[in-house]
């Protein structure tokens, strides 16, 4: 009755299901390779670097001798540059997001802004380094300073901060705005008193995630002109500086095994910093979602 013989169909079905099972196993292997590589990388770094990681390492400056070298200067440099850069990007990014979400109507200008932001997010980070070198270091005469580095980093993460803040603002229900307007509040009153507090935790989460990306950025700061050997701590915004990933890069580039080990120790410090920041972000997000329920 069926146009394919039942027996043939069933034999073939067994084969089809077997192929399907094999495919599923291959998929699981693919994922395992990805996750396995992550595990391998973390294990290798820990294995190489953990025994070099001690208090002395954290409070020492780089040295020609790996056993005496430390990351104090780089750690402080990272704190300075990322802290300042993050703050600048936060102010500019949230401002732009507020303009786009709350003020701009769907005009040509806002569409151009939107497309522009999407394209900026895809520009390779090294290009921001070139920009920083030309505009901040040379044109504005800031030199290879903490401030020039911070501004470069700020521009680099600005698109991500804008996009994350826009998402956060979009999530605030429009009934809240309407409620405010109904009471006769002005636009800015509604935005500053009602909308921003609602979206704040979520915005902060986005900014922290963007900042944690910036902490690992090496290339733009090298191109901009951060130094690779800095035996002192930055003492202000105009001070020369280095950052953690550049210090790690410098150690990796040397042929001696001793430097490779302290590079690994540096990586452990870098990863721990990232984990701490991400935990704060996850905590905030968690707290935020609870607030919404309440």
């Amino acid at each position: 009755m069926q146009y394919i013989e039942k027996e043939k169909y069933q034999q073939r079905l067994v084969k089809r299901q077997r192929t399907g099972k094999i495919f599923e196993i291959m998929c699981i292997i693919s994922i395992t390779i990805g996750i396995g590589m992550l595990a391998l990388l973390l294990w290798y770094v820990a294995d190489q670097g953990l025994h070099k990681l001690d208090w002395q390492f954290l409070i020492s400056f780089p040295s020609r001798f790996p056993e005496r070298a430390g990351i104090y200067g780089a750690l402080l440099g990272t704190l300075y540059v990322i802290g300042t850069g993050g703050l600048i990007a936060f102010v500019l990014g949230v401002g732009t997001a507020i303009y786009l979400e709350e003020y701009a109507n769907d005009t040509r200008l806002s569409r151009i802004l939107q497309v522009n932001i999407a394209n900026l997010a895809g520009v390779p980070s090294i290009v921001y380094g070139i920009l920083g070198l030309e505009i901040f270091v040379r044109f504005a005469g800031l030199g290879r300073s903490v401030l020039a580095g911070s501004l470069t980093i700020a521009l680099l993460i600005l698109p991500i901060v804008i996009i994350a803040s826009q998402e956060a603002l979009k999530a605030v229900p429009s009934s809240i705005r309407e409620g405010g307007f109904a009471l006769g509040a002005s636009k800015w009153q509604v935005v500053s008193i009602l909308v921003i507090p609602q979206a704040f935790a979520s915005i902060l989460t986005g900014v922290i995630l963007a900042v944690s990306r910036a902490i690992g950025e090496t290339a733009p700061l090298i191109v901009m002109g951060a130094l690779t050997f800095v035996p002192f701590a930055p003492d202000g915004f105009m001070s020369p500086f280095t950052v953690l990933p550049i210090q790690i890069f410098n150690w990796v580039s040397r042929p001696q095994h001793g430097f490779h080990e302290i590079a690994a120790a540096g990586i452990v410090v870098l990863l721990i910093t990232l984990i701490l920041l991400n935990s704060v972000a996850i905590f905030l997000r968690h707290k935020f979602s609870k607030n919404l329920e309440g």
Binding site: M1, Q2, Y3, I4, K8, Y9, R12, L13, R16, Q17
Partner: protein, 257 residues
């Protein structure tokens, strides 16, 4: 009128989604070469029942089906059976037309191809489209995207697609709910043709449609906490003219639902 052969037997079918019961202990027989309609208000388990006939509920992780569906003397829920084969033996048409984003030709050819059909595909495609009364409208543009067809045409394409694997039973889940009256009429006409070769089970919201197209009607209802009860089952004519139960009568005369 002689009583037809039974093709599917539902025996004590209950369905749970997680801890929520949606169908309660339903038993009835489906006749061969008949149109059986399943009617009742929203949320009384009609679609769930239909999806039990070809094990589509297996695709929902939380769904648990108990009871038996006997088809060709065999319970289709026996563990050694592959639901793929059950589905291959029954066609299904959905509420909203869901053509694949492929050409008209490829939509029809998909089922036979995966099943391992080695005969003349062109001929099979033509036959299937003819059976669903779509051939004349699309024969010159078989390579065009199916998404370019109108809603009614898309639904007939979905019927043709189901017919191409030569099922014995066609399950229809409110096939006309998204269509205009003219397309609806075309599909109803089609069902009268198709029942000569196939057995059709149709879930419908539209009682006039059930009265127009079906031979048997099953009426489902929720009563308080009892969800998904089969209230009455019998010849369509009898259900619509002299139902045995008060609730059936209330529903049919439009007093609720």
């Amino acid at each position: 009128m002689t009583d037809p052969q039974t093709i599917i037997q539902a025996k004590e079918i209950s369905v749970h989604y997680g801890s929520k019961k949606v169908l309660d202990n339903v038993s009835f027989d489906i006749g061969e070469n008949e149109v059986t309609s399943i009617i009742g208000p929203s949320g009384c388990g009609k679609s769930t029942l239909l999806r039990s006939f070809n094990r589509m509920n297996d695709l929902i992780p939380s769904a648990v089906v108990s009871g038996e569906i006997i088809f060709h003397g065999q319970n289709i829920y026996e563990p050694h059976l592959d639901p793929t084969e059950i589905r291959y033996q029954m066609g299904m048409v959905f509420q909203k037309p869901n053509p694949f984003p492929k050409s008209i030709y490829d939509n029809i050819a998909f089922g036979p191809k995966v099943a391992g059909f080695t005969g003349d595909m062109d001929q099979l495609v033509e036959e299937s489209l003819q059976k669903s009364a779509l051939w004349d409208e699309v024969k010159d543009r078989l390579k065009d995207s199916a998404l370019a067809l109108s809603g009614g045409q898309q639904q007939r394409l979905c019927i043709a697609r189901a017919l191409a694997v030569e099922p014995e039973v066609i399950l229809m889940d409110e096939p006309c709910s998204a269509l205009d009256p003219i397309s609806t009429l075309a599909i109803e006409q089609l069902m009268r043709e198709l029942k000569k070769q196939y057995s059709i089970i149709i879930v419908t919201h539209n009682m006039q449609q059930a009265a127009r197209v079906s031979d048997k009607t099953a009426f489902f209802m929720n009563e308080g906490d009892n969800i998904g009860l089969l209230i009455e089952y019998g010849d369509t004519q009898k259900i619509f003219s002299q139902p045995e139960h008060k609730t059936t009568e209330d529903y049919i005369t439009g007093r609720f639902g």
